[in-house]
Structure formats: C-alpha cells, structure tokens
C-alpha cells in the first residue's frame, strides 16, 4: 500500500509494488512522481529524510538527504549593513541550499532497492510529458506563490500558464522536467551533481546572487543513520535524529503527555488544548536553545528525551492560566509562516516500510528554475536561524534544522503506525495530535488525520497565539480565551497544519489501513 499527497504519485508507487518492487523502490517511485505531480512541494531541487523498516532483519535505518549550506555560507550572510534581508533567505540565490534528494533516492535504491532508476522514474516522466489536471489545491498554491514565480522565473515560467497561475481543470505539462529525468536515467545522478545539470543549477543560483559552486554540488553526500527511538506507554517510536527535529519533539511531547489524564479530558477539549499548547511552548524553547546540525555540535538528545525532564515540564503547567515564562531562547518568530513539504508512506507485501518526508521548503521553493530543467530549487537556507550567534546559524556544509519527522510507531515490536506530514513547524505538533487521537482517543486513522488541529509556540519566553481550525467549537475557543490564550481561527481544513499521510497496520485483523489528508490532495493506493 502507498499513501501520498497526490493520487498519481500513489499509483506510481503501487505500480512498482505490483511489478515486484519492494517498499524502497515504490517509495522512490512515489517521491520522483511527486516531483511531476506535486512539483510545488518537493523534488530533485530539494531534500528530505526517509525512515526504512527492514522486515526480515527487524531493523530500522534512516537516510538523511537534507540539503547542506554552500561552502561560502557564513552566519551573517543574510545581513546587509547590519539589517536582516529576509527576502535573501526565501527568494534569492542565497536562499538555495545544496540539494540532496536525488543523492538520497539513488543511495536508497542502490542499498535497499531492487529496481533501477529507469523503472522507478517511468511514471514521473510519463506524467510530466502527458500532463495532469490541475486541482483546486495546485491552483490555489500556484496563485499564492505567483509573485515569487514572476520574480525569479518570469512570465515564461513552466509553472505558469502563459504567465498566469493555473486554474482548476487546466492541464499542466512539464516537458523540461521529463527531459531532465530522462537525462538522469541515462547518465545517473553524477549528471546532476557534476554534469551539465550541475552547471545549470550553479548558473541559476549565482545569477540570482547566490554563492553555490560546482564543488558544493560535487561534494554532496547523503548520510545513513541510526533511528532516534522513543517510548510512549507500550509503544516504541522510530524517527530521525536532528537536524530533523520533528521526531525528537514528538517524543518530547509524548513524554510530557504521559503525565496527563488524556482520556478523561477528551480530544480537543479546553484542558487538552491548553496543556498541549503550554507543552509546545516549552518544546519550542528547547528547540531554539539546543537544535542544530549534530555533525558540528553536541545536542543533548538523551536529556531532552528523558522522562524526568518531561515530568518536570508537566508539573510546571497550570490548568487555569498561561505560565508566560518558558525557558527563553532565540527562536525566530515568523509571522509569515508558509505551507510546504510532502510526506509518503509505503508498505510492501513482505512488511518492509518506508516513511519519507521531503521538501523544497516553501511551496515553489525559491521560485528559481535552472534553465530548461523544469525543476524548482529549494529555499531551505531559510531554515537556518536569523541570529548569527544561534547554534543553528548558517555555516559551510551544515544542514539546517528541520521540523520534519517521518516516523514508524511499533506496538509490541511490530509496526503499528507509519506517519508523517508536511507543514513546517506545525509538523511535530500535528503528528503528535494524530498519534494521541489514535492511541488515547481511539479514533480510526482517517478520523485522527481529519480531526481539527491547533498549533502554538513560544518566542523569547513568551506565549504566542493558538491557531485553531474553525471546526473547533466556539465554546472551546471561549474557554481557551478565558484561560488567557489569544486564539486565531483558521480555515476548517487548513493547509497551514500540514497534510499528513499514514498507514495503520492492524496485524491481529490482518488489515492495513491507509489515511491521506484532505487538507491537500492526499490519496492512497493498494492491492
């Protein structure tokens, strides 16, 4: 079974499974196809992480193909005359980090897959050539990011329809991307990192003021890592070590939640949202204090994940008021948080599993498309901290902290839940809410994913607003406001909160359930 953010991508993964491919083959096929079908969220111009469960060995491994800062990056690179140039982090050549997606996919296929890239990329190439029908989601995002595309790719952009955003029902073709993928199939990933495509990437980045070089691309390598493991009651959770922070924070939140009478409170009750919000504010403070690229620093992972530390935080939270005092950090408050990223899950007939989250950061990334290649370059340099003194400040070769948290949850040593989501800093709060919806509140996977969500954070030790989907009852909102929360009401199903994809494996019932988020164009496919 495959679940992904676009039905064509899910079908591409399923096709590989039917042809005898394993979960890794199908996951990469789905990931490449998302580049064609959901190009605004991920692709070869970006990076990501995959958590792989190898059923026979009963082993979990992680491939980290997060982008890296160019060798000429430095902590003050986004400052001019002492002032932060925010646009340099988002829509400028300096915003582009060295992409890792293709290297990660190639590594995964070579080590764990059974099919060549030619077979795996087949559907992606076909879709890019024949086109696909534009959905409401695609159209709305295309319109939202129009200014960036006009700025960096012009009215002739392959991501615009004669210079205007695509409308629902239009057909979107990307022959340049098809040609690029065909070239990669023929010449391999070396072409992307050392060949003509590499030269086009560097030219495009430097033309927009960036500092990436051919050497940066040639040096890029993915990393295979042990999973980060946490426990919640009878469950074991396998996810990412930093710089993917989402998994770590999910475990932190679950550890804190172990101290609460959740069933008594009920899902999305005022007490639940209040306590969860306060816990999130502590977690965000930790994120600012401790999270960076572990290749270059020591992160106190075990301390952050200790049950004692979680109990300490839980005991500080008051049921009837906001603390408004959380360990202070330098978390950069973002008032223009965007939606982004994509997630997919695959399980094959032998029980091998892949939980994969990848991104080009903001929707349509930097908006920069290397000449006649059809793919978008990321703006993941924006995930470095603004503060040059931050542990997560940009430095040569570093990977910026990510909120991604693809995970596999085990129940009594057996895979139970495969889950992940896009959504920037909302990723780990949303995934934790989904997990609790299932294991504490007894919801089905679909109910758990579709349930209304909320999000908040802290900045400089102060509580920030609670964002809620409008389906949260007004009585609950009034209760939260009575406690002291400032509440911002968002759309009923708001992409701001991500677009989770999941698989629920009910071994005792010999049943696998797929769940795809209606906040995006999520879809599942199985046989």
């Amino acid at each position: 079974m495959v679940v992904a953010a676009h039905p064509l991508a899910a079908q591409a993964g399923l096709k590989l499974l039917k042809k005898g491919g394993n979960a890794v083959d199908a996951a990469v096929a789905t990931a490449v196809t998302l580049n064609a079908a959901e190009p605004f969220a991920s692709g070869i111009g970006g990076g990501g992480f995959m958590v792989i469960y190898l059923a026979q060995a009963k082993k979990v491994t992680v491939i980290n193909y997060r982008e890296k800062a160019p060798s000429r990056a430095f902590p003050e690179m986004f400052f001019s005359e002492g002032k932060l140039k925010s646009e340099w982090k988002r829509t400028h050549g300096l915003a582009v980090a060295v992409p890792g997606a293709l290297a990660g996919w190639t590594y995964a296929l070579k080590k764990f897959g059974t099919k060549p890239l030619s077979e795996v990329a087949e559907e992606a190439i076909a879709i890019a050539e024949r086109g696909l029908t534009i959905s409401q989601t695609f159209s709305a995002i295309n319109k939202d990011e129009y200014e960036k595309l006009i700025l960096n790719d012009g009215e002739e952009s392959c991501y615009l329809n004669h210079g205007l955003p695509y409308e629902p029902g239009d057909t979107f073709k990307n022959p340049d991307l098809a040609k690029t993928l065909k070239t990669l199939v023929l010449k391999g990933s070396e072409e992307f990192y050392k060949g003509d495509i590499a030269r086009k990437i560097v030219k495009a980045v430097q033309n927009k003021g960036g500092v990436m070089t051919l050497e940066d691309l040639a040096r890029y390598e993915p990393v295979e890592q042990e999973p980060l493991v946490g426990r919640y009651k009878d469950f074991t959770l396998c996810t990412l070590f930093p710089p993917g922070s989402g998994g770590l924070h999910i475990i932190q939140l679950l550890n804190i939640a172990e101290n609460w009478p959740l069933k008594q409170w009920g899902p999305n009750s005022p007490l639940y949202i209040h306590h969860f919000s306060e816990a999130l504010r502590f977690v965000f403070a930790d994120r600012a204090r401790y999270l960076g690229d572990p290749e270059f620093m020591n992160i106190p992972v075990q301390s952050l994940l200790s049950k004692a530390y979680a109990s300490e935080i839980a005991s500080k939270i008051q049921p009837d008021r906001l603390l408004n005092s959380y360990p202070s950090g330098s978390f950069d408050e973002r008032k223009d948080e965007t939606e982004n990223t994509t997630h997919l899950c695959v399980i094959d007939k032998n029980g091998n599993i892949v939980s994969l989250t990848q991104s080009i950061n903001h929707f349509f990334g930097s908006g920069i498309v290397p000449e006649q290649t059809g793919f978008l370059l990321n703006n993941h340099m924006d995930d470095f901290a603004n503060d040059p003194d931050s542990i997560n400040a940009p430095r040569p070769g570093r990977r910026p902290v990510s909120s991604m948290g693809p995970l596999i949850l085990f129940k009594k040593q057996e895979p139970f839940l495969v889950l992940g989501s896009p959504g920037g800093t909302r990723i780990f709060p949303s995934l934790t809410q989904i997990i609790l919806n299932i294991v504490e509140f007894g919801m089905s996977l679909d109910e758990a994913i579709e349930a209304p969500r909320f999000f908040t954070h802290s900045s400089q030790g102060q509580a920030r607003e609670v964002h809620v989907e409008s389906r949260i009852p007004s009585s609950v909102i009034q209760s939260l406001e009575g406690i002291g929360h400032k509440v911002i009401i968002r759309q009923a199903y708001d992409k701001y909160f991500g677009g989770a994809q999941g698989l629920l494996i009910l071994k005792e019932k010999n049943l696998i359930l797929g769940g795809a988020d209606s906040r995006r164009d999520g879809s599942g496919a199985g046989y």
Binding site: A140, L164, Y496
Partner: protein, 211 residues
C-alpha cells in the same frame, strides 16, 4: 441600474446592451491590496497586459492617490502576506479605509476585484469584503469565489454592477473594455456572445448557467 453579469458562461444574447451598460473608468490607476494576498500581483500583470497606465502599491497610502483617476482594490486576506508586510488585519483595514475615504473625497472611483476564488474566502477575507465592497463602483469576482452569493447580495443591496468571471484571464478583456480611453482600444471582435445579463433577483441562477 443594478447589473449582474456572468462573463464567459453562456453562448448568446444581450451583448451590445451589456457593453453599453458597463461603467467606464479612467487612467492612471492605483492598484492596491486589501488583505495582502498574492492576487494583487496578478491584477498588476493583467493591467500591464491590458496596456493600462497602472501603479502597483501593495501598501498604498493616501498620498499615492495624487493624480490617479481610479483606485483598484484587490480583496483577499493572506496571513502570510499580512505577516510579511508586518501588519495585522486591523491595521490593514485602517489603511484601506483611509485610502477609500480619500478616494471618495477626490471623486476617484473604486473598482474591487476578488481573484482568489473559493480558496481565498474565509472569515478574514469575508470581513474585508463586507467592509469595503459597498464603496465600490464596480466589482469583478472569480465565479468560484461567489458560490455562496456573498458578492451578489452586497452588490444587490448597494446597486453595484457585479461581473463574475470564470477564469482569471477573463479580467484582461474586461479591463480593456472599462478603461477605454488610454493604451488599450476596445477590440473589434470581442466575443460578446459569451456574455449574458442577469437581472436583479436572479441570484438563484447566478453562476449556475440556467438563466
């Protein structure tokens, strides 16, 4: 006369009457946003293609109305856009309100556009629509953004011509029509057979293709 027009939906009638009934606006124009959604950039590109003398200022102030003959307000709230501009909704409403008041004082007509469709509706946008639409001399809305008839209702109540378009690109020809004096000339063979007119009280048929 109240006029509600569905543009590019049907295949006959009343073309000439519709054209004659369309309000006319003058250039130069000032294009600004109410809500800081990306559609303001879209309006600017379309105005440029229509050959209009237009200035885009997403955070326009009353001073920028000097020498302008029309104010174009592109309505659509984006928390992302507001955040990037460093504004909250109340500040944005205050800015737009002062702009409209100054335009009224100078007899500068207001043309309102809503190009975000259904995806750009919601509590914040609806608040902007109900606040500012009644001041408009004409309203153009992407049909999918008026499924609940909010634009129809406000325009009916305030006797404002409302034009519903099926696709964003349809704005281009409309702009050429309603800004006839400079730059763009009215094309000889405009496909008026694709326009029809729906009179007051026909809300039920609005956008459903069943006049």
């Amino acid at each position: 006369m109240l006029m509600i027009i569905i543009f590019n939906l049907f295949s006959n009638v009343l073309a000439q009457n519709v054209e004659e009934s369309l309000p006319s606006f003058e250039q130069p124009i000032l294009i600004t946003s109410a809500g800081q959604s990306a559609e303001v950039q879209l309006a600017s590109v379309l105005a440029k293609r229509a050959g209009l003398e237009a200035t885009l200022s997403k955070l326009a102030t009353v001073e920028e109305l000097t020498d302008k003959k029309t104010l174009v307000l592109v309505i659509g709230a984006s928390l992302k856009g507001l955040g990037a501009a460093g504004l909250d909704v109340d500040e944005e409403k205050k800015r737009v309100r002062s702009l409209i008041e100054e335009a009224q004082a100078q007899d500068i007509p207001l043309l309102c556009l809503h190009l975000g469709g259904g995806a750009r509706r919601g509590q914040l946008t609806d608040d902007l629509i109900t606040s500012f639409l009644p001041s408009a001399q004409m309203v153009i809305v992407l049909e999918s953004g008026n499924q609940d008839g909010l634009f129809t209702r406000i325009c009916e109540e305030n006797n404002i011509p409302l034009i519903a378009i099926e696709k964003t690109i349809d704005v281009l020809d409309l702009l050429k029509r309603i800004f006839p004096s400079k730059g763009a000339e009215r094309p000889e063979s405009m496909p008026w057979e694709t326009i029809t007119e729906v009179q007051t009280g026909s809300r039920a048929s609005f956008g459903l293709g069943s006049v």
